[in-house]
Amino acid sequence: MSSELNVRSLAVPGFSADLQALWAVVRREWTIFVRYPSWIIALFIWPVIFPMGYILTARALSGVDGSGLTTFQNRTGLTEYVGYIAVGTMVWMWQNIVLWAVGYSLRNEQMRGTLESNWLSPTWRFAYLLGSSIPQMVSMLMLMLVSGLEYRFLFGVHFSGSLWLTLLVILAAIPSVYGLGFAFASVVITLKEANAFVFLVRGIVMIFCGITYPLAMLPNWMQSVSQWLPQTYVIHAMRTAALSAEGFSAIAFDLKMLALFGLFWLAVGYLLFNIMERRARQTGAIGQY
């Protein structure tokens, strides 16, 4: 009886099948992303609007003749205060977007009702989180590129550093920025809502990492806290790489710290994801809104 009724599955498991599934998640995420036209606003308008308030404040405080800029130069070693603010706010926006987009990627699937149908498949679970992050990385790179062009031509910012070193900093920052996003996504799927936590994290980054001012402005205890935040090193390295001609040696320490933070946050993200996945199977959290 069983031989007559045996239906042969078409599935062929293996590493390449998991890679194919990962690529399918990337394509799905990208296709859905571009079908919501609001991404154009995020890409072209938000990067200009967000730092504008800080730039105009800085301009007002520098005095009518701009004499205050000398003080800024003495503190930072840079003359390009618009670029200084633009890079800081860009890194803040990056982390903020990752917390919302990656951190809420599984939760959004859960609310859409598609998380369970993904979870029913034999695909490597982490592929869903990783796959939905890759289009986000691409859109973020586009955003940085467009922002750079906008700062150059709208604000006249002179990026005197190296494009390649700037890209290297972005690459080095990815593991820690996204590792935090993965950890966040795992927590959100269990807690369902973590807006307060997003506000807390981005508030900490805003105050402690010096997105618009040098860390020297902070009291000593706050500077000690800053050293434990990877965004501090991302901002410093990216400013150095994009706005000065100091070269690789000036960012080597930052890159080393980012590698360490990257390993830590990726491990934390992966560990939390696996704990969440197991816990969700025990509690039924995957299907709960």
Partner: protein, 350 residues
């Protein structure tokens, strides 16, 4: 030796009881104390037992219907079988694989359609959905297109396959969801309320498809609210109530359990509970149920009787002496619904 597609042994699933559910009978106060870091000890958690020792043996090639009212444990059982949930205790094997220890082998053996229509992406087209899920189910790229085309053709989606799913009707979305389940041609299908929300024609088409899939050799576990559907499609039916399988047999076997009984169906106006109590007190009358039809004062009253000839005069007497008017009366053979009422004391849609 039986060649089993699905085997569950003493499957139990408990969840922490929600505050204010009021379902004291299902709570397990003996649950161990739990700790939550970093806040220290918590009070012992009351537990809700959704599935309470389910045993199932489903043979290859059969359609097995799992019937039960809302909250009976059907969906929780399905979720344990398809690896979305781990049982609190007991074991389940699907296609010979353990649902906890060999979860990926189980997933490869299954095509699952869960209740509801949001299991696919509305911002993708029908074709994009199927191509996406084909990759998740590890179907080689070389055959994906052919397989997707086959299913699009079979499900009569060809004309609209390249439109966004958000523009589809409920029936079309359900067809995409079923195509998704069939993509990898899995030997076993779990269909959780597959016809829920479909119009009669779409539901009929889907029932025909389910029958065809059985002919092709698929084993099908079907949960449904619709008795006629279960009766028409299932080789065997398990009736589940309060987390337990309380009866398991062929549809005919189940009906034989109460074939010595007759079912009296009344239509009356001016019905009230007091008359029901009086009729229930008549010897040989059981499982009386009444419900109002629409907004008019017309009630349908069903009951099971050992002997309708002796019961009917007394029923009529109670009705006429209380100002209630008898509009219609029928004596019919027991249906699967009557079996269900006999076993559980409630209607399936309760």
């Amino acid at each position: 030796m039986l060649d089993l597609a699905i085997e569950a042994t003493q499957l139990v699933k408990k969840f922490p009881a929600r505050a204010g559910t009021g379902d004291k009978t299902a709570e397990d106060k003996s649950a161990p104390k739990t700790k939550r870091w970093p806040f220290g000890k918590k009070e012992p958690k009351a537990m809700f037992t959704a599935v309470n020792g389910v045993d199932l043996q489903i043979q290859r090639g059969e359609i097995f219907g799992l019937l039960g009212p809302n909250g009976a444990g059907k969906s929780t059982t399905i979720r344990m079988l398809c690896t979305l949930l781990e049982p609190t205790s007991g074991t389940a094997r699907v296609n010979g694989f353990d649902t906890v220890k060999q979860a990926n082998d189980v997933r490869r053996s299954l095509g699952t359609v869960l209740a509801g229509e949001r299991s696919i992406y509305w911002k993708l087209t029908g074709r994009e959905n199927l191509e996406y899920f084909a990759a998740l189910y590890h179907i080689p790229q070389a055959i994906t297109k052919k397989r997707v085309d086959e299913l699009i053709e079979r499900m009569e989606l060809k004309d609209r396959a390249n439109e966004l799913v958000e523009k589809y009707s409920t029936g079309m979305r359900q067809r995409v969801a079923i195509s998704k389940a069939l993509l990898a041609r899995p030997p076993i299908l779990l269909l959780d309320e597959p016809t829920l929300g479909l119009d009669p024609q779409a539901a009929r088409n889907l029932r025909e498809l389910i029958a065809q899939l059985k002919q092709e050799g698929h084993t099908i576990l079907l949960t449904t609210h619709y008795m006629e559907e279960a009766d028409q499609l299932s080789d065997r039916i398990g009736i589940i109530d309060t987390g337990k399988v309380i009866a398991l047999d062929t549809p005919e076997g189940l009906k034989r359990r109460i074939e010595q009984k007759e079912v009296i169906k009344l239509e009356v106006t001016g019905w009230h509970a007091e008359i029901g109590d009086k009729i229930k007190s008549i010897s040989g009358i059981e499982n009386l149920m009444s419900h109002q039809q629409g907004e008019a004062d017309l009630w349908e009253v069903n009951m099971q009787a050992q002997n309708s000839r002796t019961a009917i005069p007394r029923i009529v007497e109670h009705i006429s002496s209380n100002g209630t008017r008898l509009v219609n009366m029928n004596i019919v053979k027991p249906s699967l619904e009557d079996v269900f009422i006999h076993l559980t004391g409630k209607a399936l849609r309760d």
